[in-house]
């Protein structure tokens, strides 16, 4: 039961993390690419594409000796690959927008550079969690439904908290660091518990 709650927490947090980062991505791209609909379109495209690929890869990975510790590693990698965003926004994005003056392709390339890898890794979390939660085929739909619920609910929470409150209290990089920090702590917790209990 405890393990199940932990898995759901990780999936929910991963959803929160993805949407928090996506919204802040809009903030980070605006000074270099503007805030037109193209920029949001590019950003959402990159996140959706990365998630879709992540789902495939996460499912594939779950075939080989799935464990809670490995799930923790996925979450950890998603957090660590978000770190470069803290330094890449600003002058490097300006150079990119000079090299690619077209507002659509320029912002697409920028969004992909910053967010593609961490979002693929975040996408891998959900199907991997399903594998860890499902014990028999008869309940697989119910467990998958639970997983969709917690991860999408987490996304909703990440969206509203970031856009309504967090940006009012903290700087963009401070929010990113907080999100990364929470991910790292949860990941380490999952790895330690997974190792100790062999799940």
């Amino acid at each position: 039961m405890l393990i199940r709650i932990l898995i759901c927490t990780l999936a929910g947090w991963s959803g929160f993390f993805v949407m928090g980062v996506e919204l802040l991505g809009g903030r980070l791209l605006a000074p270099s690419f503007g805030s037109s609909i193209y920029v949001w379109g590019a950003l959402i495209t990159v996140f959706m594409l990365a998630l879709s690929i992540g789902y495939l890869l996460g499912g594939r990975l779950s075939l080989r000796a799935p464990s809670l510790a490995k799930l923790g590693v996925l979450l950890l990698l998603a957090a660590l690959t978000t770190l470069p965003v803290l330094w890449l926004a600003g002058a490097p994005l300006d150079s990119l927008s000079i090299a690619w003056p077209d507002p659509r392709w320029g912002s697409l390339l920028a969004a992909a550079t910053l967010f593609f890898v961490p979002t693929v890794l975040s996408g891998m979390v959900s199907p991997y969690c399903v594998r860890l939660l499902v014990e028999d085929a008869g309940r697989s739909g119910q467990r998958a439904g639970l997983l969709y619920f917690v991860s999408t609910f987490g996304s909703a929470a990440g969206t509203i908290l970031t856009s309504f409150y967090l940006v009012l209290w903290l700087e963009v990089n401070q929010i990113l660091l907080t999100l990364i920090g929470i991910s790292v702590l949860l990941a380490i917790g999952a790895i330690l518990i997974g190792r100790a209990r062999h799940v």
Binding site: A30, P31, G34, V172
Partner: protein
């Protein structure tokens, strides 16, 4: 089907009531960003971004051909900018609206070259078709994000004698156009003796943050508060009140047809009337819309 559309028509009439009875929708232009609406109302033609036009009306002009500005902020922007710098040759306007300010500038300043930046091509289209806006070699429109334009212009070494920032709506502020970094970029476009005039808000918590942000980049500035708020900046030093008053008298014959009042110099104020400890807005911290609730 007929019955249903009848019911709908009755409902619309009931809901809109008498207040909207004379408001006539002339045109609706769909754009990537929103809907751009043109209304005729009480002898005026207005460009709006919301169906509830009086809340979000952008700019209006008289239907009888009078040049007089119908909106106070436009009178303040035109008059106050020219009191600060009476003969600007190179002008940048960020935010076209119905094109009323650039059109007046072309007429008042026959020597000036005016560049306008407008993010929404639908706005340019509507300004040309319904508000008699005419762009040409002297009055050019660049259709792109204001921040991107400013960055590029700075790289190309462009300089302006007057920059007008008029890109804010009541419903939405482009937050990347109200940060310290953006104002530093704008400052780099100002030629010696040049002036920046920004049309913004006079209420809400944002007032304090906007003020400290401008102060952080420019130091002192003139602050004109009426319905709107106009911030006037001159990095090479603000002209004294006596000079402003003298220029107002001198320019009165030219500006009177636009409705610029003779007592506009009375609104010039450089005393801080805001919370000077309010956090400066930056690219990292720019919740302008949340602060403007």
């Amino acid at each position: 089907m007929f019955k249903r559309s009848c019911a709908l028509a009755v409902l619309t009439l009931l809901c809109s009531g008498t207040a909207h009875a004379q408001m006539k929708l002339v045109h609706s232009e769909r754009s990537l960003v929103r809907e751009v609406l043109v209304y005729d109302y009480a002898g005026q033609r207005c460009l709006c971004f919301t169906r509830e036009c009086r809340l979000g009306r952008q700019s209006c002009e008289w239907l009888n051909g009078s040049h007089e500005f119908t909106m106070g902020y436009a009178r303040m922007m035109l008059g106050a900018s020219l009191y600060m710098n009476p003969d600007p040759r190179r002008i940048l306007v960020i935010g076209l609206g119905a094109g009323i300010l650039p059109t007046a500038l072309v007429k008042v300043l026959p020597e000036a070259q005016i560049d306008v930046v407008e993010i929404d091509p639908a706005v340019t289209k509507v300004a040309r078709r319904f508000f008699g806006f005419k762009d040409n070699e002297r009055l050019r429109v660049f259709e792109e994000d204001g921040r991107k334009y400013v960055k590029r212009a700075a790289r190309e070494g462009k300089r302006y004698d007057l920059i007008m920032l008029d890109a804010f709506e009541h419903a939405y502020i482009p937050e990347h156009l109200l940060t310290r970094e953006f104002l530093i970029e704008v400052k780099s476009l100002l030629a010696p003796g040049a002036v920046l005039a920004a049309n913004t808000f006079s209420s809400s918590r944002l007032y304090d943050h906007e003020s400290t942000t401008y102060a952080a980049v420019f130091g002192q500035f003139y602050n004109l508060r009426h319905d709107n708020r106009i911030i006037l900046v001159r990095p090479d030093g603000l002209p004294e009140a006596a000079i402003i008053a003298a220029r107002a008298v001198q320019l009165h014959p030219v500006l009177k047809p636009y409705g610029v009042e003779a007592d506009l110099p009375d609104l010039f104020n450089r005393k801080p009337d805001w919370d000077t400890k309010a956090r400066v807005l930056t690219d990292q911290y720019s919740p302008a819309n949340l602060l403007n609730q």
